[in-house]
Amino acid sequence: MAKKSSKDRMNNEINAGSMADIAFLLLIFFLVTTTIAEDKGVLVKLPPWSDEPPPPLKLNSRNVYSVLVNSSNQLLVRGEPMPINKLKENTKIFIMNPNKLENMSESPTEALISIKNDRGTSYKTYLEVYNELKAAYNELWDEASQKKFGKNFEDLNKDQREQITSAIPLVISEAEATAFGEEK
């Protein structure tokens, strides 16, 4: 009797039917705890800190594109107010200077963008301005690489990218914020 039952047991297989349940349980756990992280952002390289004030640069004022953002989030571009949706187009024109105007950059390599903001400027506006300026450069790079290689800038290899970015270098300098409109 006992012998027979042990033989029976040997023939039994482990029931794998509950495996699916266990896996589902784990699956649901991971589904709930997952946060598909939105780890994307505007990449910026800050200038390194130095305690001495930088030597005054001799810059031709025609090559500087100054963008001021005040504490009520208004833009002043080269002394003229400008809505933010025009910023990208105007920046592109300034850098490339297609009509060879006297008051715009001598060449893309000479062009310099300068941003200055108040302490009361909202972060949203600041990032938007930065984003527009970066977009202007990205579009110029795309156009240049289409012309030169017939490809988008993203699809170029490292060497080709360098050729493009050295012809149109991205120079955005940021001045210290002015203490105005500090948060209450």
């Binding site: 705890t33 952002g41 949203k124 990032l127 914020a177």
Partner: protein, 157 residues
Amino acid sequence: MHKFNKKVGKSKPAISTASLPDIVFMLLFFFMVVTKMRDTELKVSINTPSASELTKLEKKTLVNFIYIGRPTKKYEKEFGTKPRIQLGDKFATTDDIPLFLEKHKVTVPEAQRPSIISSLKVDSDVTMGIVGDVKTALRKAGQVKVNYSAKKRERTK
């Protein structure tokens, strides 16, 4: 015609569920791989602005996160409603940033240290004052690669 008649009389076979665990495991592994456990509790409310020129943060181990925003309801009483900085899982000031960066730096192999990126997760309502202070602190600590976290949107025409 009688080709179709053949069906009649055949017993219905049960659908085999033997492969169900495999399918579920496949899904499970997918989620296990893409999951990033939320290791820090957010004590400030953050709603990042949107931007179009985004760069993806590739290596998670090379990134440290700095959060700036107003304290959430739970911490309002203790810390007020002014924008605050959160490093790791606690509130901090700009003076704590160098130590925070150093603590993260030692976990990274020496060869990769120059490519460490600081991800700034900043609420869109915050003003530049506090962000500027953090930027200055980062520059003083020699951390110049910064990523302003943002949501994706289309480029404006």
